[in-house]
Symmetry: C2
Subunit: 312 residues, 2 copies
């Protein structure tokens, strides 16, 4: 067998479920369960853009899966299968790919998903990877970005801003003595499997930054949002980094926490249903243009625009 087919048989076929037809056919065949909607997403990672050349290959694989798992989670769906594309350089060592595959295997088991197909090629540029992921959700029950109602509370899972601080730490700008921020950057926790389905009106995952992603819900739901900076949950490591990183935390990407709209009165039910994942109420959806206003401790709007501090 030529190198490509030998690699597929040795490294990838063991990751494949029956739907992948042994990775020996032109396509995968999948029969979604009766009464479900199929939820489909694709996300790519390019070396030097989405990961650093010396990031461990297994954590690159896991982050690639987890970015997609997070999109599936943001639709309220259960992940099932994925397709993988890889474009590697001729000089990419075989050990890199082997390490990459161990990362896939580990997260496949953790999240109960399987490989069903893909495409591998060579490139003369940066390593380029993509995953297309499939999940299912009861028919008509998927969450959308639209659906937030005026008066709904804004909730987030986990803590916000750690991944951006992890990148700052990788560049030596923030202390990260126990590596917590690095782990949050390299290995986000997609919030799949929370049993809060019936309580949520609209949802997105925080991939582009809290303010920008909250703005997406506002635009799709035709409302504004008002949040309190002090209410945005931060990790102990982020707290230690200090208040000068507030903007980074609010606008940094890659957290992969869920950001959603639900009635304030179901907060206790949400917390009980999502445990041990923490859920924090950070503000409200309000009448008005699709803008996000962030209030400081004195209740004054911070001069933040979606992309950063306002120049005014």
């Amino acid at each position: 067998m030529s190198g490509e087919f030998e690699r597929i048989a040795r490294l990838f076929a063991p990751l494949a479920s029956a739907e992948g037809l042994g990775l020996t056919d032109d396509a995968a065949i999948f029969v979604p369960p009766e009464g479900t909607d199929l939820v489909i997403t694709v996300d790519q990672m390019v070396e030097s853009i989405h990961f650093l050349a010396d990031d461990p290959a297994n954590s690159v694989a896991r982050k690639l899966l987890r970015r997609n798992l997070s999109d599936i989670a943001a639709m309220g769906a259960t992940p099932l299968h994925y397709l993988l594309t890889t474009a590697l350089r001729a000089e990419t060592p075989e050990s890199w790919l082997e390490c990459f595959v161990t990362g896939l295997a580990e997260d496949q088991q953790l999240f109960n998903i399987s490989l069903i197909g893909g495409d591998s090629t060579s490139t003369i540029g940066p390593i380029s990877l993509s995953v297309t992921m499939f999940g299912t959700v009861a028919r008509g029950a998927a969450w959308h970005r639209r659906g937030a109602r005026i008066g709904d509370a804004v909730f987030v899972t986990g803590t916000i801003g750690d991944a951006a601080l992890g990148l700052a730490a990788a560049h030596g700008k923030v202390l990260d003595p126990n590596g917590f921020l690095a782990v949050r950057r390299l290995l986000p926790e997609p919030r799949v499997g929370l049993h809060i389905h019936h309580l949520v009106h609209a949802c997105i995952d925080v991939s582009d930054g809290l303010i920008q992603d909250l703005g997406h819900i506002c635009r799709q739901s035709d409302c504004g949002a008002l949040i309190e900076a002090a209410a945005v949950p931060q990790s102990e490591a982020a707290r230690r980094a200090g208040d000068q990183w507030l903007l980074t935390r609010l606008t940094g990407g890659d957290d992969y926490e869920l950001l959603f709209a639900a009635p304030a009165e179901v907060e206790i039910m949400l917390r009980a249903a999502a445990a041990p994942v923490s859920i924090t109420r950070i503000g409200y959806f309000v009448e008005g243009p699709p803008e996000v206003v962030v209030l400081d401790n004195a209740g004054k709007p911070l001069p933040i625009t979606r992309g950063g501090w306002s120049h005014f």
Copy 2:
């Protein structure tokens, strides 16, 4: 809106069907028709590997779709929807992307498919593109590479080797006065919609070269294949290129014709059902190891290995 969202709204949202949720959500939602199996494939194209930097962007888009359409056709399925990833350089001109999108639009209409999602990012290397495509087929009726029976005839659609000769022409090694070979390389014809479903035992599309791809059917079907070099259909342009290109034609990739197993006695029915697409019988599946033997005009085996001429 930031550049990425503005581009999505302006260029890609007009290509999207309802399943894509306006390309404003975290994922697409698709409900496959009752009684069908979902067929899923992914294929990528990297600049300098799969296309040349000065290939027209609209034809790159169309070839990207067509490579995937061909995989769907090789499973006997009907294409429906696709997801697109793009990784462009900061200096890739906006006009390149606009031209790329016109190619997508043209083939969407031609093949009755729609965009339902995707991911766009930047890269510092070659342009990198991928399409994940979905099709449906009556439950249990998909073609596989396994299934060829000893005694079945080997059939191909269209003509074989034009794309490889088109690449040779692009490098000035073959004459292509009317541009026929260039068109065959840039704009393959995926063989979707042939009404030969009930007659076919196994199928693959010719993407890696006739001999290699026929070998895939042999390995999955546990048989050998015997074909006649003179029977392999060639275009008038390929005939003019001359016999010294025989190996290139038999081993060159990118033809995207269908290569399939069916009983010899249904040849007339196949031709009638597939018209106006031509179907040619080129040999037989035989008992033995999963090897492809090519006979010359005298009935002697040509010293061809899967990858090229044998060194023996």
